[in-house]
């Protein structure tokens, strides 16, 4: 591998890993946000007076 090969390998791995981590983080955030919204909705429905 030539010198540029090592440079692109390093840059490629770093930015690919950061991108995957960012997407993984966003996915976890959206999962928890959905669950939180669902819980809040069910709490609201339970606390509303019936009749």
């Amino acid at each position: 591998m030539g010198p540029w090969g090592f440079v692109f390998l390093a840059y490629g791995i770093v930015w690919a890993v950061v991108l995957v981590y960012l997407l993984f983080l966003k996915h976890r955030l959206s999962q928890v946000a959905t669950e939180l919204e669902r819980q809040r909705t069910s709490e609201d429905a339970a606390s509303r007076p019936r009749g």
Partner: protein, 234 residues
Amino acid sequence: MAQIEQKGLGRRILGGLALLFVLLGLYVALVQAPPDAYQGEVQRIMYLHIPSILVAYLSFFIVFVGSCLFLWKREKRDDTLAYAAAETGVLFTGLTIVEGSIWGRPTWGVWWTWDARLTLTAILFLIFVSYLMLRSLIEDEERGALCGAVLGIIGFLDIPLIHMSVYWWRTLHQPPSILRPDKAPWENIHPSMLLALAINLVAFALLYFYLLSLRFRLGEMREELKRIKLYGGP
């Protein structure tokens, strides 16, 4: 509600700035900066390697501060911050080891050697991987936070050892060549290289704080979810 929206907007601005500086950093590191007189083009890995280890150190310093505060005040928020910083710190330490390995192959002739600085950095990585495993394995939240805080403080103590290792032992890894006590940084490196390094440091710092803010938000939301499930309200 307005405060949450403001925080969300601040996070988006931080993310945008990080992206801008990352692109600028890539341009100056790969196009504008000249090749090194001795190492040639592979020296460009330095613009990744130094910023990533510095943000990893910063991250473990945040773990250290958050852990100390948690042990002192027992506020969940400090533990959430320490946990978030440990995860992002592991990411950047892992990347530092990979970049160093790729840089080591053409310059030292090996992908890995049991040099003092490399070994201590690998130990730092393993300590904080253990921290993350510990946090996910202990079911009792309070106990997990306490054990994590103790491990976070002990783990941080490895950083001064990593820094001093190049002075205390005969190592393959060179001592600091830019931040030296006897010379100003601009006397040790060409200004265009110093500028490229500075831009990449800013880019990594912005990216780090963006990722940390997202991870911290995730921790806060999980706490809120637990509260609702336990007590049925915020």
